[in-house]
Homo-oligomer: 402 residues x 2
């Protein structure tokens, strides 16, 4: 083979590092490994019957919808179904504000293209979803952490942080108010209203990423920032809402959606014309048929009950670890965030855990800067109850081996 | 409703214009309209039976592959099938060089992210695919046109154009060597070798976009730039190849692929982690089943025969327009590019054509600068033979009404 030329890349891609979580994949092939690492829905909780029926109906009743290009905003049938879903979630949205995206991940990518320039600064929860940190960095945008606690974004701390800045210094704040990745925290009503007031006062938009909100297994629902924006003077038009069918139907569809003020949504559509033209119309039609048949409403209680049982099992098991491990119990979602006590480093525990054949995600992946070396994320979503018990016994042995 | 805040957008999105071709969609709803505008495959030529079988098999045999997240590079089964397809097309590629993309459009988006910075200049055929021009502009990159003729990119003109420039002045050249959109031209062997030599001499990469190459209905195949790169000193590692199932299986899958030197492919995978995580695994598995069953090889001759018949019908009809219209007959693909004679403007013809209930695309959409006001693109792909006859009769009346 001839020698390759010397390639020149965009600055952010000269020596990029991939996803730290995806790096853990190599351990998954270790025989007998139990994984508390990835946030993958368990195959046992997929609604295979409902999805098979939706798939069969889509191709039988609308083969051209499935096989042809669709409008960039999405198939009308799916947009109407998603509008109705948002209404059931307490938010009245106009069709013109709603577009389909290739997973909610694409929503973030489009918003970065449309709203941000290299050198801009964006507020994020600290810790937060690693792919958001990565997407911002690859676009030359600087993520700036905001403190969180067991109830999510610390709006008092945010107010202090913003006090010295001129309005407009930050264009955006990205947050996951419901069962955040990685903290599992759910932002209380008072903080939601306070956050909206800060957005109005300091002239920034809020990206409300909500893939997990429907997976509530304890406590009472809190309205979305999208629904609450009209209650706070000056906050209307400041919320862009992202959601997805990945965690409640199936990741394999890659169907998400964005609700955004029309000027933002229109520009995201123009950006999407050059990104992938449209989200797979076949997957869109299957999703639309699934929603139209009422299958999500039938299946969701089973899914939530499944997550509840798993979360309770893991929380009870973690409680038996005693003072070695501190955590806050989540009210929904897929994740438990905790800290090793007594100065134990998550990276050291990780090495022992791999030796014991159990995986988790060390906390550093979730920090833009100054990671908490004792923090770690456990997901109860994928393993079954017996594997949760076994995995926690292994984790206990990993602690003992330190 | 409260007043919306004043939004601030990235510079390229302050006042963006959408796709000129998508703007034509509004005329499609005009009753009885015959469209020679869009490059959409005709539903009558979809292999519904083969795709229904692939869909049924995918969900029955591999429900978890369909419904779960997949590796960012794509499902292994699909990558292997695409590797075999590339081999049948005369290019030996390593699996590590091949990744699945959400249509070939996403391949271009990833390459722009990874390879280019605002202010960079990229060589493109003049005229070329509008979504490429748009993607470059929205990224702050300047497209620089290279002359074309009835045989595609004029490599002599390119050599002159590059003569005064320092090597490395252009990082990339984007081209569609097989049945280009909009010109329909197929780049001859000698020009392909010359283009590769210029890439080596002037230190640029070539993006070879090849969605149409399998749709050859006349003449002999010419090897891809990807396959030819090893024959030209210094050209190895300079070709990134994009292709897609959209034009040969179904656009609704949104399944394309990229073949790139490993350092480029790896970075595109990292970019894709933040863009959509992975292409719909369900669509990927359906595509893989379709290819593995040999359905593409069975169906492609029917598809090609269908396009041949349509192209011949349209070319014969256009010949009857006589000296009003000049064109070059394509050997494949979906498009005929032509010029109105005698100073007739395509925009004036368009107005008359809409009045006669027939659509085409005025040529200006395909130029980055200084459009040829007499040029226009006709697609024979979507209408059936009778509609081609009717549409051309209407076009004749549009000419007469000028």
């Amino acid at each position: 083979m001839a020698e390759l030329p010397t390639y020149r890349f965009a600055p952010a891609f000269e020596a990029p590092t991939g996803s730290a979580i995806r790096e853990l994949f190599k351990y998954l092939s270790q025989p007998g490994m139990i994984s508390f690492a990835g946030g993958y829905p368990p195959p046992a909780l997929f609604d295979r019957q409902g999805l098979a029926e939706a798939s069969e109906r889509a191709l039988r009743e609308a083969p051209v919808d499935c096989l042809q290009y669709a409008a960039t905003e999405g198939l009308p049938m799916l947009r109407e179904q998603l509008q109705a879903l948002m209404q059931r979630r307490g938010a009245e949205v106009a069709l013109d504000e709603l577009m389909v995206t290739t997973g909610s991940q694409q929503g973030l990518d489009l918003l970065i293209k449309v709203l941000l320039s290299p050198g801009d600064r964006v507020l994020v929860e600290r810790p937060t979803y690693p792919a958001t940190l990565q997407a911002l960095r690859l676009a030359g945008v600087q993520p700036v952490g905001v403190a969180t606690d067991g109830e999510g974004l610390a709006t008092d701390a945010l107010r202090e942080q913003l006090a010295g800045e001129r309005p407009g210094r930050f264009r955006l704040l990205y947050c996951v108010p419901n069962f955040a990745n990685p903290t599992g925290a759910c932002l209380p009503m008072t903080r939601r209203l306070e956050l909206l007031a800060l957005a109005a006062e300091h002239d920034f938009l809020i990206i409300e990423d909500d893939p997990y909100g429907a997976l509530r297994f304890a406590g009472d629902p809190v309205p979305s920032l999208l629904a609450l924006q009209h209650q706070v003077p000056g906050a209307a038009g400041r919320v862009v809402h992202l959601s997805s069918l990945s965690k409640i139907v199936a990741p394999g569809l890659r169907v998400g959606w964005m609700v955004a003020p029309v000027p933002v949504r229109q520009r995201c559509t123009i950006a999407k014309q050059t990104v992938d033209l449209c989200t797979s119309p076949w997957a869109q039609r299957i999703a639309a048929e699934y929603l139209a048949a009422g299958s999500l409403e039938r299946h969701l209680p089973l899914l939530v009950a499944g997550y509840r049982a798993k979360a309770e099992r893991m929380l009870a098991g973690l409680a038996r670890l005693g003072r070695q491990f501190e955590m806050t119990a989540p009210q929904g979602g897929m994740f438990i965030w905790g800290r090793c006590s007594g100065g134990v480093q998550a990276s050291a525990l990780f090495t022992q855990a791999v030796a014991q054949n159990v995986l988790f995600v060390p906390g550093q992946a979730f920090f833009g800067d100054e990671p908490d070396p004792q923090a770690l994320r456990l997901s109860f979503a994928a393993p079954d109850l017996a594997a949760i018990d076994d995995g926690l016994a292994r984790l206990q042995r990993a602690f003992e081996a330190l």
